[in-house]
């Protein structure tokens, strides 16, 4: 049984079909990449799975149980963690306190939560930043904190939206290494979006490609990189034509 099953999911906004009858499965322990140009519908698909949007049609199943229409806090408690493309956290909470908030999803005692937060900050190499406020940190550190917060809720699957957006090449590499580290350390399933294909290619065991709200391809990274429809989606008709000659 697949850990996450999406069956015929459709989400329409005024004038756009952001997700058009999308189906796929994710097995426990996999790292799956979700790619597609800007506006392809990746964030919308995430939001439909975790419950920020109510899909117009389709079913989402987690661990075999339907979770369609669950609220975000319910999908999180069920075991789905997620990070945000852009996350602005104002307010007085420090980095370590924000991670504690994640821990409080499963524990009610603040001593345990504090201890868990310290362990996760250690894993994420964020000890230096523990006492800082979110808005004092550079983007790269903020993204790691977002990851740490989601991780603290002890998810079975972690969904990361635009893992590398706003990061320079070196930071992107570090992020990718970090993802592999937590995948191994926490026995996690990862579902990762990125509009820049090269970022998720090397770590994903399987890639799903969206374009214009539709799933246009799915397969091994190497096959995806040579798929004509994918190349067309990314680079346009002309490039495909040019390659033929």
């Amino acid at each position: 049984m697949a850990l996450l099953e999406v069956i015929g999911l459709t989400k329409k906004f005024v004038g756009v079909v952001a997700n058009d009858r999308i189906s796929f499965e994710i097995e426990k322990g996999e790292i799956v990449g979700l790619i597609g140009p800007n506006g392809a519908g990746k964030t919308t698909l995430f939001n439909c799975i975790v419950g920020y949007h109510k899909p117009d049609q389709g079913t989402v199943k987690f661990n075999g149980k339907p979770i369609t229409g669950f609220k975000p806090f319910q999908t999180n408690r069920a075991g789905i963690g997620r990070t945000f493309q852009i996350m602005s956290i104002s307010g007085s909470l420090s980095v370590s306190e924000n991670v504690m908030v994640g821990s409080f999803c499963r524990v009610s005692d603040s001593r345990t939560a504090r201890q868990e937060a310290a362990e996760i900050l250690n894993l994420m190499e964020l000890e230096q930043e523990a006492q800082a406020r979110m808005n004092e940190l550079p983007i790269a550190a903020q993204k790691r904190v977002g990851l740490a917060m989601a991780l603290a809720t002890k998810p079975k699957i972690l969904m990361l939206d635009e893992v590398a957006a706003g990061l320079n090449p070196r930071e992107t590499e570090e992020m990718v290494a970090l993802l592999q580290k937590i995948h191994a350390a926490k026995d996690l399933t990862l579902f990762v979006t990125e509009h820049v294909m090269e970022v998720v290619m090397p770590i994903s065991q399987r890639i799903i490609v969206l374009d214009g709200g539709q799933k246009i391809a799915e397969g091994k990274p190497r096959d995806i990189a040579n798929d004509e429809r994918v190349i067309r989606a990314y680079l346009g008709e002309k490039y495909v034509e040019g390659r033929k000659h």
């Binding site: 975000p72 806090f73 104002s90 909470l93 908030v101 409080f104 005692d109 603040s110």
Partner: protein
Amino acid sequence: MPMHALKDALSFGDLPASERIGFAIFIAFCLVFPWISKGSFAQAVMIQFLIFCLYGLGWNLIGGYGGQVALGQAKNVGMSAYTVALFMVWWDVPFWFSTPIGVIIATVESFILGYFLLRLKGHYFAIATICVSLVWQQLFVNWDLIGGARGVELPLKETPNFVYMQFTSPIYYHYFAFVLVMGAILFMNWFRKSRLGYQLRAISANEEVAESLGINIHWVKVKAYCITGVFAGMGGAFYAVYYNYIDPFSVMHLELSIMIALMTMIGGAGSMWGPIIGAMILIPMDRYLGAWLGGSGIVGVDFMIYAFMVMVIAAYEPRGIWGIIEKARRRR
């Protein structure tokens, strides 16, 4: 778990030394005040200050930590105050029996109202609480059975009486109010380290993110709003026996709700000491200004001054005087 909670409530060890010293001075000042203060006016202002500390500490939960600008504390103060007053007038029920009932009524009203209104966002929530407050206010002004605009006078016992909380000297009220405020501070000291406290702060920082961390934001807000109601109810019950007279203008009025919110914002919403600092500045200012200008026919000067203070703070440091103090501390 309860032992840990008690320990959290009683331990101020994580605070900087300067804060602990400030708190000790506050306690010492409150303890000796009745013995060093001269006039009865000063003592009355002091008791007012303590009542407003209680209101502000309670409002700080939903309004400060939770970031939900609720402007309806007065109706919960009023419900409890009227319960205590009317139970005594009608059935001669002592303070210690009517107070729990008054607090429960105030809390249940908070629960019902919060359950429905806390689904509204931002300004809509604030406006909705104002509307509900105005309805309650009108109801109490026009409801003759409970005294209408004339209010309710509590019958006096012949001798000072502990079960009815009737004393001739204000000292007893002073210490009782002080005990209530200390209880509120210890509660807040537990709260700020608790799961509820962290979740509430996460909600006010970013609701979307909070939801993604498994927080049922609606339910957490409702819980906080109920606790705010408990504090208001305690304050109202005390108010009734302290003044022996209540009317809709003193305990049910929107002006009181606004005063509580402004005071906490000026002192520092969402911080432990903010409400106390706010009350320390605003209450004496309000009472002495009132006494000074009272005869001259100038009205509204007090609210003009508050409005000015709020403007300065909103422009300079949204987290109030406590925000300024913290900023200075972080810079060092």
